[in-house]
């Protein structure tokens, strides 16, 4: 196997099968080894993309339209790196979370956890390198199945109910997407994205109804307001590492597909009113999610509602891509959105892991129970604080840069109303992060006994949080990578542009 593409897909899927057959004790360690290996493969691919430009790979030597073409540009490479990095740290975390000291029930959870976990990683990787509509469908489907099973793993009525809602929403979404794909296939006769884009440029219009089905389905999966209702409980009742990757990565995966199709393939077919509508739904999501996050009493539910809000920001980039005239702002909008995806992935991963640590130690995750946290779990408090900074989009975090670029795009494309939304969202997120942080600072009589927390759990969330901060301190390289094969060019803004 001489290509990083093969490793990216083979390692996790083969690992999922093998760990299924292995005795339970060795599974978490093998999972960790394989996620690290996947990270190495992602790094390999990213450095190829960095040096040589976008990489393509025909699976089994068959070119499209007969065979399956895999493809990676800067965007794919960055998301692959993000995915494997978050999942590696979450795997470290799960070593402690499912440790032997934990109760017997969580040990059985752990047995089923590992194979599903690796399937999830494999389907994420497959999704980010897929280059045709049907493969994207398959990857999304695998992702849903693995995700739903992982949610249900927590057991209990709440988790099962949440898992069932998630399953129904996701299947409805898949169905819509598949119908859209069928219509598109009828129109274009091919599934490969590059070939469709060529045909679309040549004057073939995508049927409006097909695009509506595709984007509606994906919007449900990305928890776009008002299709988000399945998300908060599914993400909040899953085991901690699962919550982390669902919020950090799985939702983003659906958004990634929207971004690819909207910008790379159907740029000529989507209309400005549609873009404004997508932005409006995103804005509604920002406000609604933030208000819900302000009202919730349980930590994990606050964090989950915040995902609804943060996903809203991503949809703002579509109206920002429209606008009159030429300018660098289209790159700013697009790259700002992508950078927000990354920064939020690390920050949200850190938050869910930290919330899981609190739940693990205290036995519940009521916000009122977080009192005295600075004394009992200082490292977790720090992760919370840093990830909170990234959620609000304060410097020095990656989200700050993302917001900076989105704001630049709003002003340069003369759509100031989105700047108001971004500002309001910042203040609202400040408010709900404040609720959590101030609770941690409130001293209180300590609970009689808290369960000792394995160190690896605390440090895994800390490293994730620090990464979201690092993205804000050193953004030059990620942006250089992102520019490889980007749909917009980064014109260095001179005076007055």
């Amino acid at each position: 196997m001489s290509s990083p593409f093969e490793w990216l897909i083979f390692l996790p899927f083969a690992g999922g099968v093998i760990t299924f057959l292995l005795p339970g004790k060795s599974r978490p360690w093998l999972a960790l080894l394989l996620t690290v290996g996947t990270f190495a493969a992602a790094w390999w691919l990213a450095s190829d993309v960095w040096r040589e430009g976008p990489q393509g790979y025909a699976l089994g030597g068959w070119e499209a339209p007969l065979g399956i073409n895999l493809y990676a540009d800067g965007l794919s490479a960055l998301l692959l790196l993000t995915t494997s990095a978050v999942m590696t740290l979450a795997s470290f975390y799960s070593l402690g979370y499912f440790s032997r000291e934990a109760e017997a029930s969580s040990w059985t959870e752990a047995r089923a956890f590992v194979p599903l976990w690796l399937f999830l990683l494999g389907s994420l990787n497959a999704l980010f390198v897929s280059r045709d509509l049907f493969n994207l469908y398959v990857a999304l489907e695998l992702l849903t199945i693995a995700g739903v099973a992982l949610v249900a793993l927590a057991g209990g009525a709440t988790a099962l109910r949440a898992g069932m809602r998630y399953l129904l929403a996701a299947f409805l979404a898949s169905l819509l997407y598949l119908m859209g794909v069928a219509l598109l296939y009828g129109e274009f006769g091919v599934l490969d994205l590059a070939l469709i884009a060529e045909a679309a440029e040549g004057g073939t219009r995508a049927p409006v109804i097909a695009l509506a089905f595709v984007f509606l389905g994906l919007g449900i999966k990305a928890a776009l307001f008002p299709f988000h209702a399945w998300l908060p409980h599914a993400h909040a009742s899953a085991p901690a590492p699962v919550s982390a990757v669902l919020s950090a990565l799985v939702v983003k995966a659906a958004f990634y597909v929207i971004l690819r199709l909207w910008v790379d393939v159907f740029a000529d077919s989507v209309t400005a009113p549609a873009a404004q509508a997508a932005g409006a739904l995103g804005a509604a999501g920002i406000l609604w999610g933030s208000f819900q996050a302000l009202r919730e009493q349980r930590l994990k539910l606050v964090v989950a509602h915040s995902t609804v809000a943060q996903v809203g920001y991503l949809f703002l980039l579509f109206p920002l891509l429209t606008g009159v005239g030429e300018g660098a702002w289209r790159f700013d909008a697009w790259a700002g959105g992508v950078y927000h995806m990354m920064s939020h992935a690390f920050a949200k991963g850190a938050l869910f892991l930290a919330a899981g640590t609190i739940l693990y130690a205290y036995g519940n995750d009521q916000i009122s129970a977080m009192r005295g946290l600075t004394r009992t779990l200082p490292i977790t408090t720090v992760s919370f604080g840093i990830a909170g900074i990234a959620l609000v989009g304060l410097p020095p975090s990656g989200s700050f840069i993302a917001k900076w670029m989105l704001l630049t795009a709003t002003i340069e494309s003369a759509q100031w109303w989105w700047a108001v939304v971004i500002g309001a969202g910042t203040l609202l997120s400040g408010a709900y992060v404040y609720r959590l942080v101030s609770a941690a600072f409130t001293p209180d009589t300590l609970p009689e006994s808290i369960r000792p927390v394995p160190r690896v759990m605390e440090y895994a969330s800390l490293i994730l949080a620090l990464t979201s901060l690092g993205l804000g301190l050193r953004a030059a390289e990620p942006f250089d990578l992102l520019e490889v094969g980007a749909p917009f060019s980064m014109i260095v803004a001179g005076v007055g542009t």
Binding site: D332, T374, V382, I389, V392, L394, P395, P396, F400, I401, K403, W404, M405, L407, T408, I411, E412, A419, G423, T426, L427, G430, Y434, V437, S438, F441, T442, P443, R474, A475, A476, F479, M490, V492, A493, G494, V495, G496, T497
Partner: protein, 497 residues
């Protein structure tokens, strides 16, 4: 990239930044190590700033530039006005650290306190040396974040409420600042500070946009600089421990706002250009209103720290006022007051802390005869108070003298009326406590002094030192390297003869 000289500003930041991080990880009981690290770093910083001052006057250039994102750089650069602010902060950091060690003896969470304290100082240094707007914004927001844990340090209901008010004001201001800065960048490209302003060449065509942006920038910086009606957070934040009040009011937070106004007027717009846009007269009027309003409110306060807080509101606007009057002499008044107000106000807060800590006195009405019990503290308080009123030869006189002269030179005779009114009001709220302390008979029996000194030496020495500095800064204002000398250097750069 870092030129050889660039290491200097970087290491000035690093002394407190690295120590802050190390201190977070120190166990609570290791106070010897912690104190040693703190004092050592503070001394090292003073030495480095002194080297920078010496080198700068000799004509050396120190600049560190890092690629940040797209066309933006992080830029740390030593210039005259940054040295003024950095010199003030580094000296007061040392004294406040000594004071805080004494003040917080045997109280919990000292590692946390000193950790955030160091981060605050690092952010302040970053604000001082920021060479462009984006770097400034970065450190400005970092300061907001790092101060919050200090305000709520005690964890009481009152402290948490004050912290909430503080965050509402500063995050609101921070969001507006971000919008203003991004907006400015979209019309003028990346903005590096340049004496005399840079916008006249870059973007003189958009005068209305520039006016609105100016209002947004000053409005957002005015939150920290406590311009009426944005000052509400400051008196409330008085619940913080005394060293924090000293840091907030003399060194870090409020000065960051005032310093930002200096940067925007003199180094981004340029005062002549800002004046040609008719922006400076409204600023002068707002500053004057703040000066009178703050003094009037101070009169009515019985709580010593609250009286000092309103006095700060008033005194800070001297800086803004001096910035808003065109002409080198007023600029000297503004800049030298940046230092003088800092030194005098920190003295007063140290004294207020000594009274509270030693005798439990919090109100002006309890001060009768207290000078007999605490003569050194009250002498320092008297020097600080008289300086605030503007009596020669104490530092405050130098500031007011230059402001008055500058106003006459610019034909702003009404400013003299403001200055006179304010001085009368200052006298009205500083003379009663001074008189009561020295000349009235005590109402209660004060507990005897613990040793030969009236209170712990760690509380007494900083107060005496800053009082002496307030005196010397005024009496020896003509000496080379005095604050006045450096301020005149800045004025020469900003208004080339």
């Amino acid at each position: 990239m870092i030129e050889t000289g660039g290491w200097l500003p970087v290491s000035i930041l690093a002394t407190s930044g690295l120590v802050g991080i190390v201190i977070f990880f120190l166990d609570e009981p290791r106070h010897r190590t912690r104190n040693f690290l703190n004092i050592f770093a503070a001394l090292a910083k003073i030495v480095l700033v002194a080297i920078a001052i010496g080198g700068y006057v000799e004509g050396e250039e120190y600049e560190a530039r890092f690629a940040f994102v797209l066309e933006f750089d992080l830029l740390l650069r030593v210039d005259a006005v940054s040295l003024l602010f950095a010199g003030l902060s580094s000296v007061l950091w040392l004294l406040t650290t000594i004071y805080a060690i004494g003040y917080l003896e045997d109280s919990p969470h000292r590692s946390r306190f000193f950790g955030f304290f160091s981060i605050c100082v690092t952010a302040t240094m970053g604000i001082a040396f920021a060479g462009n707007l984006i770097t400034f914004v970065l450190f400005y927001e970092l300061l907001t974040i790092a101060t919050y844990p200090l305000v709520v340090h005690r964890g009481s209901e009152e402290a948490l409420a004050a912290g909430r008010t503080y965050l509402i004001y500063t995050l609101g201001g921070g969001t507006a600042l971000l919008v203003g800065v991004v907006w400015l960048h979209t019309i003028a490209g990346p903005i590096e500070f340049g004496p005399g302003g840079v916008l006249e060449q870059a973007a003189s065509g958009n005068s209305w946009e520039l006016r609105v942006i100016f209002a947004v920038l000053i409005g957002s910086l005015g939150v920290k600089a406590a311009l009426v009606p944005l000052h509400g957070w400051l008196p409330v934040a008085m619940v913080a421990p005394a060293p924090v009040s000293a840091l907030l009011h003399a060194v870090a937070v409020v000065k960051a706002g005032a310093f930002g106004i200096v940067r925007v007027v003199h180094y981004v717009y340029g005062s002549d250009f800002a004046d040609s846009l008719n922006l400076l007269l409204p600023l002068a009027i707002i500053a004057s209103i703040t000066i009178v309003f703050g003094s009037l409110r101070a009169l009515a306060q019985d709580d010593i720290k609250r009286r000092l807080a309103f006095s700060t509101v008033s005194q800070l606007s001297y800086i803004t006022l001096g910035v808003a009057i065109v002409g080198p002499i007023a600029a000297v008044g503004a800049l030298v007051h940046l230092v003088h107000q800092g030194v005098m106000k920190v003295t007063l807060f140290f004294c207020a802390g000594n009274l509270a800590e030693t005798l439990g006195i919090h109100n002006v009405s309890e001060l009768d005869g207290v000078a007999r019990r605490m003569p050194v503290t009250m002498t320092a308080f008297t020097i600080g108070g008289l300086g605030m009123i503007g009596l020669p030869p104490i530092a405050g006189f130098i500031s007011k003298w230059h402001l008055g002269l500058g106003a006459m030179e610019a034909d702003f005779a009404w400013v003299i009326v403001i200055l006179a009114t304010s001085s009368l009001l200052n006298a009205a709220y500083f003379f009663p406590p001074i008189y009561a302390a020295w000349f009235k008979t005590p109402q209660v029996e004060y507990p005897p002094a613990p040793g030969r000194l009236e209170t712990s030496w760690m509380l007494l020495v900083p107060a005496a030192a800053t009082a002496l500095m307030s005196f010397l800064a005024g009496a020896l204002a003509g000496v080379p390297y005095s604050p006045l000398d450096i301020a005149e250097l800045v004025a020469e750069v900003v208004y080339p003869p």
